[in-house]
Symmetry: C2
Subunit: 185 residues, 2 copies
């Protein structure tokens, strides 16, 4: 029996969902075979949707950043802009290990960081800028800090959390120091 | 003419010094051939001192961390413990790109992060702990922060500076936020 278009769409979505989890945990050590197995499809089905591992991981990366951007945008009209900004900062750092593992897998599969996958980080940075501006307008963040350094703090806390495998209490105290530094004097 | 022992010692020191610079700039893309050329010795001389690239980069890494540890220890009886702590924090972040490039070259050459090269980071963390304790005793740093989170901040700022290639003004403003967060309330 021929697969229907709806089957194909369902397969593609399931493969991507599983792949996000597999590459987010395994990084460059994770395999397309594992994705196929856990998605309950044959390897040929994965390759029909994503002819190379690079294309599969790129689609995962784009999906991952799209979700983070949607989350950031949904917070842009939150009633408490300070809380929205700090919650999203915390959210990004909690997500860091998975995101960095996917980025590592992408680089290892020969992915081009300047290609299609570069739009997500740019969009995310911009969305964080909107949350920052609103938090500053609301008096929850010092007005003399710019997105450049705030983004550097997010990237730094994210990479430290992933590299040092910080447990939740240490991660939380680390963010507490940064948040105190961002609070109005 | 046979090389004397003093010649050999001089060669070894020069090779290590050049290698620190070459791998600190080039990371895993740098080659032992380039080290030999810039040190003004033949490749055979490099291999006589360091039979593999892994051993050469490991010696560079050990040397690099030893110097940072010596610097930290020399600050342990500084007259102004707050300044010594913050200056050394800034120093470590300014040094980050080179150090991370050497670490990358070491991993790429098959280096074992749990082996001989693991002592340097441990000693450095301990030396930072001494500076932190003195800065806290002097009232320059909040007494409710621990070395775990301070070290996470150093690692994070270092990795952000290297990954984002922060220019000096942004790096300085990023550190300014962290230092404000570490200051007593």
């Amino acid at each position: 029996m021929e697969p229907t278009r709806a089957d194909a769409r369902g397969n593609r979505a399931r493969i991507l969902e599983v792949a996000e989890d597999v590459f987010g945990r395994g990084g460059s050590a994770a395999s397309t075979e594992e994705v196929a197995r856990l998605a309950g499809v044959g390897i040929a089905t994965v390759f029909r949707h994503f002819p190379t591992k690079r294309e599969l991981v790129e689609a995962v990366l784009v999906k991952h950043f799209n979700r983070l951007c949607r989350e950031a945008r949904s917070l842009a009209d939150a009633a408490d802009p300070g809380r929205a900004f700090f919650d999203f900062f915390r959210r990004l750092v909690a997500d860091a290990a998975g995101k960095l593992a996917i980025i590592e897998a992408f680089a290892d599969a020969g992915g081009d960081a300047a290609g299609r996958a570069s739009q997500g980080p740019r969009d995310l940075r911009e969305a964080v800028g909107v949350l920052l501006g609103r938090a500053q307008d609301a008096g929850a963040v010092r007005t003399d800090v710019r997105l450049d350094e705030v983004y550097a703090l997010i990237v730094g806390a994210s990479r430290a959390a992933a590299h040092l495998r910080l447990d939740e209490p240490v991660r939380s105290r680390t963010l507490g120091i940064i948040f105190d530094g961002l609070a109005p004097r």
